[in-house]
């Protein structure tokens, strides 16, 4: 395993793709964001907290996080069929659970926070791009969170542990492990893995991702600060009291995200098994007495319990037709499941011509006002369609 390994797109092993995050990009939503991670383009919106519909899915002690992850039909090489695939349903579920642990949902019992995240272009690592967008959108909506969570995948490509695999690397590689991590809490809120990792590769990939996330969270913070600065500029707030220099210094540092040092050594601390929570000092087997002291299990409660499946059902919008279609065209399904959709063409990709998806900082041609409006309408339609589908199911 050499540090000099150069990947197909010219990156070193532990270098992120270009990441840009913008917040407040859509107007109707309570919070919104747009993320470019390499060729991935993700947009997220947040609605809520708002009244839970249907009511039986509400939780009496907290708000339900309902993340809806979707990919646009044109986001992959082949046409992606428009109804949610098994892959999308699974990712929606794990993302919902991940943000459940991050957002202070206990503040709004019986309500729901709807998060919609749509991938308009995909190239490996879509769920982590989606997660970055969700975190930014939640923060933009002003929802209190325990930490800013970032997501990134590390995987194996030609048996090298690499950060942030592209679609090509993911398809050809030997494994992929996306995580969501909250640096200030040291908590992993999403973890998935597929491939063939040895224990050492696993540890290296895991800590590589954690370092990657720290980088990402700084970029998200930058995007959030930028929004507030631009609002101040727009409305001409009297900022004579504020420290101009600090603001300027901040702007300078956030415009160019630092590149991760390729040659960095990972500090993997050997973990002493004796500190493991599995190992308990004194072990007392349960005696018969102890057993009889247990209260009887409330069986009735268990029977009546409205558990997650019911709540999730609405989010995931399953049509019986969908299901049947999925079954009948199984081969396609499995193919797209094997990994994130892949764009094999990995030329440098700064050719996004639309103003709408342009990365910030790129030279934008001024467009006539009405054209921009058209574009926005189209995208809003996409969002509206998703809403419609969801309502239909309900």
């Amino acid at each position: 395993m050499t540090e000099e390994f150069i990947r197909p797109d010219g990156r070193g092993r532990k270098v992120l793709r270009n990441l840009t995050v913008e917040v407040g990009v859509l107007d109707r939503a309570d919070g919104s964001s747009r993320v470019h991670l390499g060729k991935n383009i993700a947009m997220a919106t947040v609605f809520g907290p708002r009244e839970m519909h249907p009511k039986h899915a509400a939780q009496s002690d907290r708000a339900v996080m309902r993340v809806n992850y979707r990919m646009a039909t044109f986001s992959v090489d082949d046409y992606k069929r428009p109804f949610p695939s098994r892959r999308e349903k699974e990712i929606s579920k794990v993302l919902s659970e991940a943000y459940d642990s991050v957002v202070l949902t206990g503040n709004w019992p019986r309500s729901v926070i709807d998060v919609h995240v749509e991938l308009f272009q995909s190239d490996g690592g879509t769920r982590t791009a989606a997660a970055i967008a969700i975190t930014a959108a939640l923060a933009d909506a002003g929802l209190p969170m325990r930490d800013l969570t970032g997501g990134i995948a590390s995987g194996l490509y030609e048996d090298h542990v690499c950060l942030d695999l592209t679609g090509h690397e993911d398809m050809k590689g030997e494994g992929d492990m996306p995580i969501l991590y909250s640096p200030a809490l040291d908590e992993v809120s999403l973890f998935q893995l597929d491939g063939k990792f040895t224990f050492d590769q696993f540890k290296e990939a895991f800590y590589t991702s954690i370092d990657g996330v720290k980088e990402i969270v700084e970029i998200i913070k930058g995007a959030l600060k930028d929004k507030y600065l631009s609002v101040r500029e727009e409305y001409g707030v009297d900022d004579s009291d504020d420290d101009e220099e600090e603001v300027q210094a901040h702007l300078e540092t956030t415009e160019e995200p630092e590149v991760i040092d390729e040659g960095r050594e990972i500090d993997i601390e050997e973990i002493d098994l004796s500190t493991s929570s599995f190992v308990v000092g004194t072990v007392k087997p349960v005696t018969e007495e102890a057993k009889t002291q247990e209260p009887p299990a409330p069986a009735a409660a268990a029977v009546e319990e409205v558990t997650e499946p019911e709540a999730e059902e609405i989010v995931e919008s399953i049509h019986v037709d969908d299901f049947e279609k999925e079954e009948s065209s199984e081969p396609e399904e499995v193919a797209s499941e094997a990994d994130d959709e892949v764009l094999v063409d990995f030329k440098e990709d700064d050719e996004i011509s639309s103003t709408w998806f342009a990365k910030p900082g790129a030279e934008l041609k001024p467009m006539p006002a009405n054209e921009t409006v058209d574009d926005e309408d189209e995208t809003e339609n996409v969002m509206r369609d998703i809403e419609y589908t969801m309502e239909d199911e309900e």
């Binding site: 893995l193 597929d194 990792f197 224990f199 409660a301 268990a302 499941e337």
Partner: protein
Amino acid sequence: MSDFEYIVNSIEKNHIVNLLDSDRRLDGRRKNDIRDIKIETNIIDKANGSAIVQIGQTKVIAGVKAQFGTPWSDQPKKGSLFIGFETTPLSAPEYRAGPPQPDAIELARVTDRLIRESGVVDLEKLCIIEGEKVWQLNIDIYALDDFGNLFDAAALGAFAALATTKLPDIQIVDGEVEKLETSSPLGLTNFPISITTYKINEELLVDAELREEQISDARITFGLTEDHIVSGQKGGSGAFKSEEIIDILRNSIKLASEVRAKVSEQIPDLTFAGE
């Protein structure tokens, strides 16, 4: 969840956590104990392979059906694999009939990753005519009794069913494939085990039973072969510390080899290709 259930759950959770604090559990196990595993194979004659797997009271049935299919265009030499899971209404009062819910989809996909990535089945051996005809294996798992930890049960079910799978012998006459009366075992190439660890407050335990699973904050499943980590999935609305994950993985690797030994005893004629 109604207010009543919320309160009952909180009380029950306190009780379970108090027990865990002294390494005890509702059913008398310790935190790191896995319930007894029972496997019964070849129970469905119509299926190419089948098994009923029981972990404690949790019970699943798995069957393999093999049929001819066409290979993917990018993998003309490989057969295909499809794994389905259904939390049937048989298994618990909260499951309803209908298309798979997100929980079941997640279970199917995690089991799929385990079986696929571990390379239990050498897909190239399923090729009949390159680019034209291959065996397509459909492995479907149905929950019979959900007493917690369906993840590990489903993985064992899929493996046990595959281990007993026999494919009809074939002959190719003028490019036509004919099935013969005889059949031969599939021949496996790996032995993956799934270990799921649950987190309740700050306590970690493996193989949760129903009540523990219902009140758990998070769970993490690792799929392990003898020398590799092949699948992983975190679930639940809690989170794990980064060191916890490494700890859990170490512990899971140790447990997996114990489970592997126990399971081997219960699957008759368990042979691996090349043995």
